[in-house]
Amino acid sequence: MFYDLLVEPLTYNFFLQATFVCILIGIVCPLLGAFVINRELGFMGDAMAHSVLPGMIIAYSIGVNAFLGAIPNAIAIALLIGFLVRRFKISTDTSIGIIFSFLFSIGLIIMSVIGGTRFNLEEILIGQVLSVSNLDLIITSILSVAVITITLIFYRPLVYVGFDYYGATVSGIPSQKLDYLLLVLLSIVIVISLQVVGIILVVGLLITPAATASLIVKRFKSVIILGIIIGIASSIIGLYFSYHLDLPSGPTICVVSTMIFSLALLKSVILKIK
């Protein structure tokens, strides 16, 4: 029973690779997600995910790895939104809304012009971690390690800027550059998460584990650490469910992480009533 449920899937190479990707995503999503929920960047994250569609489609159609299209696409969007907000004083929500719906539409148009049958739209929209290739795995590992290292090196100044932008600037910290750095890190995390949960569900993976953690612990550092534990747990539990019950992996992972969130919410409500 135990063997069939937990160990047997691991004897397949594709499942092993998927598990590894899930662990990496489970680490990087809450790491950046903690910043996202405390700086109200959720909509930004959702928009970035939608905006990479043209990049992915173009990469697919010329036969290169989707990362090669999605990563530069996402970074360009992050910088463009940051620039628009600063330069033209358009509100963040508005500029994000305009850019993301435009780019997502462009992506869909390119897809239909090139020929829709060549693409698996469902896989792009909701992810399919069980079909990651060796190359995807290597790229995901390298990018995850890079994101983790850079976030740790700049952890304190990133927190300072998120808490008190002007105080940080005056104390000599390059706040504006750090804001751009955060957006670039976020865009990389979003792109590598796309293979697991797809464009539509990325924001869930980014926000839910970190939000769950912040219901249980208070301090920012603790939110990140607990968020990572919850992130890894929900993606692996979701992966097993999807394997055994033959469900789509992305949505299953999202449902599991939302269920963990609901439990934490229930617990905090009960504690308050007491």
Binding site: G162, F163, Y166, G172, S214
Partner: protein, 258 residues
């Protein structure tokens, strides 16, 4: 305070503001403001809301470009003095939802940029000393968002101490702070000026604590008065200060202030 503050000599000047103008959207927020402040003084910047207090602080902090005039911090431009100044913005500018403890906030004073020191952490002697000085040591593990207004300000003062900056700018530090806590903060700030820190604090409200500043700068677009509290806080000045300032007109020409 003592007589040394009455004789401003140039070498001793910490902040020099010369014919400073800042304009946004055709409104002159600062109109030909000039003054100089010696090291170790405690200056109250008094004026109505919209009187240019925050603009002046932003200009001194290097966050705001001048339309005309210049500012020198120990002889250097504000942009070259980043790190020498600690700035506590108005409380509306802070993201209180960010879940940090008092200790976390004070330790921000020691951040100089990226680097592996950020992972390993800092030596905490200075941070703990700073916390003790402002009487926040016992609350070091509390979340900053849960503190009272006065405790939040004391935490920021401790952060400035950890930064070891010479100049401290506190914008509207008394807003939302009860009178007793205002007194405590004033005591701490007086102590710091005796250790030759220069402090500018803005407030739109006038009360019995106003006597404790070394000098008061009355600002309503232009400088209405600048001097010791006794000289400055007269009925005429206050009328000018809180009355309507009619001179900030759209056609005001920069560089022509007479």
């Amino acid at each position: 305070m003592d007589s040394k503050h009455n004789e401003i000599n140039i070498a001793n000047c910490c902040i020099e503001v010369e014919s400073c103008c800042v304009e946004y959207d055709n409104i002159l927020a600062l109109d030909n403001v000039s003054f100089s402040i010696p090291k170790g003084s405690f200056i109250g910047v008094l004026g109505p809301n919209g009187g240019g207090k925050s603009t002046l602080f932003n200009a001194i902090a290097g966050l705001e470009n001048l339309t005309h005039g210049k500012i020198k911090i120990n002889g250097k431009s504000p942009q070259k003095s980043l790190g020498k100044i600690s700035y506590v913005p108005q409380k509306e500018m802070i993201n209180w939802k960010f879940p940090l403890t008092v200790y976390d906030v004070v330790s921000q004073g020691k951040i100089r940029g990226g680097g592996f020191r950020n992972i390993l952490g800092f030596s905490n002697d200075l941070i703990l000393d700073s916390l003790k000085k402002v009487n926040m040591y016992a609350k070091k593990d509390e979340m900053i968002g849960n503190l009272s207004g006065g405790e939040k300000q004391r935490t920021f003062i401790a952060r400035a101490l950890a930064q070891e900056s010479e100049i401290l700018l506190l914008d509207e530090a008394f807003s939302g702070v009860d009178f007793g806590s205002q007194e405590d903060i004033t005591d701490v700030l007086k102590l710091l000026t005796s250790e030759s820190k220069t402090i500018l604090m803005s407030t739109h409200d006038l009360n019995s604590l106003s006597d404790r500043y070394d000098k008061v700068l009355c600002l309503n677009g232009h400088i209405c008065a600048f001097g010791s509290p006794k000289e400055v806080l007269t009925e005429d000045v206050l009328k000018e200060l809180y009355g309507v300032h009619k001179d900030r007109l759209i056609d005001h020409r920069i560089g022509r202030h007479y």
